[in-house]
């Protein structure tokens, strides 16, 4: 309070501190380091210019005939012409609405599952139903839908289905493997270790070959499993081995007191795993989980070597059309863009989850 007669010592007004102004030339070329950085930066900008020139200024967006694309600019018209092939592969053109519906359904399901609040058994059941609907939509043969064999499936729906299904099926397997690796029972522990280390020791390409080519030879006569199914199995077991190690890391970070508290409260083992252990273990390892998910999305493109028609294979086959002059750069850039959108989306989502977790921990 301002007592009467109080004496105030005002602080003298002062000018802001003087900032030494450096001439621009000195900032840019002042010493060896800045000079080097400046030169490198200029070099990078200069080298990008022709790319921009190619991609935007000289580019052809709309052409009457493929021949117009001869003069060296990017031929985006090619993507327009081949979009259907790249997106849907050899899927019968008249039925492509079904492939579109599958893509939309997957995206809708992913959007609907973003909030961790909704992660429960009901959502799992909805996912199982949705996957069933997607497979029926793609394959047909019932409900008046024309039958389309998996050999005709292709493009983005195949990529998305492989990514979602391999990760989705791998996850419970990975949880079992991770728990098994920490089991006190030697048999279970050795089996888990053997599976994880064996699969991690193999390249995915090798695993795909085994699944696509060797497996049909090894199976008893009369047994056939669809090639897409075998490929999916290979991707799933591969993802499971990596996810298992990530989840094991999360389990190791879990305080023993959590399990003791759950036991003392009489919570049965599997319910404890599902409601107490896994949510915390997973929260501990969101960044490496994201990393594995992104790697697996991109790994789906490797199925092209065993002849499964994913988006990358479809783009490759689009480039073989002799009517168009060398359009492979454009095709691959287009596919790369779609992969980037998917993977960047996963990254953003994981950042969002992490922020949520840390807000809860230090509110």
């Amino acid at each position: 309070m301002n007592a009467p007669g109080a004496v105030y010592n005002y602080i003298e007004p002062q000018l802001p501190p003087h900032i030494a102004r450096k001439p621009l030339l000195k900032i840019v070329f002042g010493d060896f380091l800045s000079a080097t950085l400046t030169i490198v930066a200029i070099a990078i900008i200069l080298s990008i210019l022709p790319v921009l020139n190619w991609a935007l200024i000289n580019a052809h967006w709309n052409v009457a005939s493929p021949a117009e694309c001869q003069d060296g600019g990017a031929c985006w018209a090619f993507i327009r012409a081949k979009a259907r092939l790249i997106m849907f592969g050899l899927y019968p053109p008249g039925e492509q609405w079904r492939a579109v519906a599958v893509i939309l359904l997957i995206l809708a399901m992913i959007l609907a599952s973003l909030s961790p609040r909704l992660w429960n058994a009901k959502l799992l059941a909805v996912w199982a139903t949705a996957i069933g609907v997607m497979l029926i939509l793609m394959g047909g043969g019932i409900a008046g839908l024309r039958f389309v064999p998996t050999s005709k499936w292709g493009g983005l729906p195949v990529t998305l289905l492989l990514a979602v299904l391999s990760l989705g099926l791998a996850f419970p397997l990975a949880v079992l493997l991770a728990l098994g690796r920490r089991s006190p029972l030697p048999v279970i522990r050795s089996i888990s270790v053997a599976v994880i280390e064996l699969v991690r020791g193999l390249p995915l390409v090798g695993l795909l070959f085994v699944a696509a080519i060797l497996l049909p030879l090894l199976l008893p006569a009369g047994w056939t499993i669809d090639k897409l199914g075998r490929t999916l199995a290979a991707l799933t077991i591969f993802a499971a081995a990596y996810l298992a190690e990530v989840i094991r890391g999360g389990l190791q970070g879990l305080d023993d007191g959590q399990i003791e508290a759950a036991e003392a409260l009489g919570i049965p083992y599997w319910k404890m795993i599902w409601h107490i252990v896994l949510p915390q273990a997973i929260q501990n390892v969101i960044p490496p989980l994201t990393n594995t998910a992104i790697v697996m999305v991109k790994n789906t493109s490797l199925v092209l070597i065993v002849g499964v028609f994913d988006m990358l294979s479809a783009a490759r086959s689009a480039t073989t059309d002799p009517a168009w002059p060398a359009p492979s750069t454009e095709a691959y850039m287009f596919v790369a863009l779609i992969y980037f959108l998917i993977c960047f989306g996963i990254s953003l989502y994981s950042r969002h989850l992490e922020l949520k977790v840390s807000a809860r921990a230090h509110g």
Binding site: A261, G266, H275
Partner: protein, 247 residues
């Protein structure tokens, strides 16, 4: 039923070659409050953890209510229903809100309906005076608040016996009394309690009996007055004088 709430008969416990409990015998009758004390490593946690079978005993017999602890899993469930446990480190579930911490265990282990579980949780949270924090996460609470939630969570299972393992040792001094107050209120309500603690004030005012342990043995038990004032065993006397000096 004439049996004691807890009955230990010559209980032995080994950790590898280490003899952690040596022929420990103790009976706690219904409604009795027992405080267990003793130097670090004397087996206080071990004895409490054997009673709800977080550890298996290697010899002797343990009865909780009518049930004998053994390898029968049904008995295990029965015991866990009978005895609630409060830990030194609280062990709340950090990914669940206070409300969920109290409601979910009822749903998972008893199959209680969510609505009833939440109502029950509210009642017990109110009893430890922390209902206003129900929607927060444990990470957003003080230590004393966390421990009171842990007490409410255990009470939600409607146990007949409450086990406490150093419930105030991880707390800042200014928060100790709020937890001891909650425990005192619980004792006044007639709960059978077994508490490992060095809070002698609490032992004096609440305990019917004090148990002194050393090196895995139950050295002596008696009413607090006797144990603090004139214990028979010289080991008890020595320990009591050191904690009296440090308090």
């Amino acid at each position: 039923m004439s049996r004691n709430a807890i009955e230990l008969q010559g209980v032995e416990k080994f950790y590898g070659g280490f003899h952690a409990l040596k022929r420990a015998s103790l009976s706690v009758s219904l409604g009795e409050r027992v405080v267990v004390c003793g130097p670090s490593g004397s087996g206080k946690s071990t004895i409490i953890r054997c009673i709800n079978r977080l550890e298996k005993h290697d010899g002797g017999r343990i009865f909780v209510g009518d049930v004998e602890l053994g390898d029968d899993l049904r008995n295990l469930d029965a015991v866990r229903r009978e005895a609630g446990m409060v830990f030194q480190q609280f062990n709340l579930f950090p990914h669940l809100t206070v409300m969920e911490n109290c409601a979910l265990p009822q749903i998972l282990s008893r199959g209680t309906r969510r609505k009833a579980a939440e109502e029950n949780a509210r009642a017990y949270l109110d009893r430890v005076h922390i209902l206003d924090q129900a929607e927060k996460y444990p990470g957003q609470l003080s230590g004393g608040q966390k421990q009171r939630v842990a007490i409410a969570r255990a009470l939600c299972m409607r146990p007949k016996i409450m086990l406490f393992d150093e419930p105030t040792s991880a707390l800042d001094p200014e928060m100790i009394h709020e937890v001891l107050d909650a425990m005192t209120e619980l004792a006044e309500g007639g709960m059978t309690m077994m508490v490992v603690t060095h809070e002698m004030g609490f032992a004096r005012s609440v305990a019917d009996r004090v148990v002194y342990m050393e090196a895995g043995e139950i050295v002596e038990t008696g009413p607090p007055k006797e144990m603090f004032g004139n214990a028979r065993d010289p080991r008890t006397q020595r320990f009591m004088s050191t904690i009296a000096a440090s308090a």
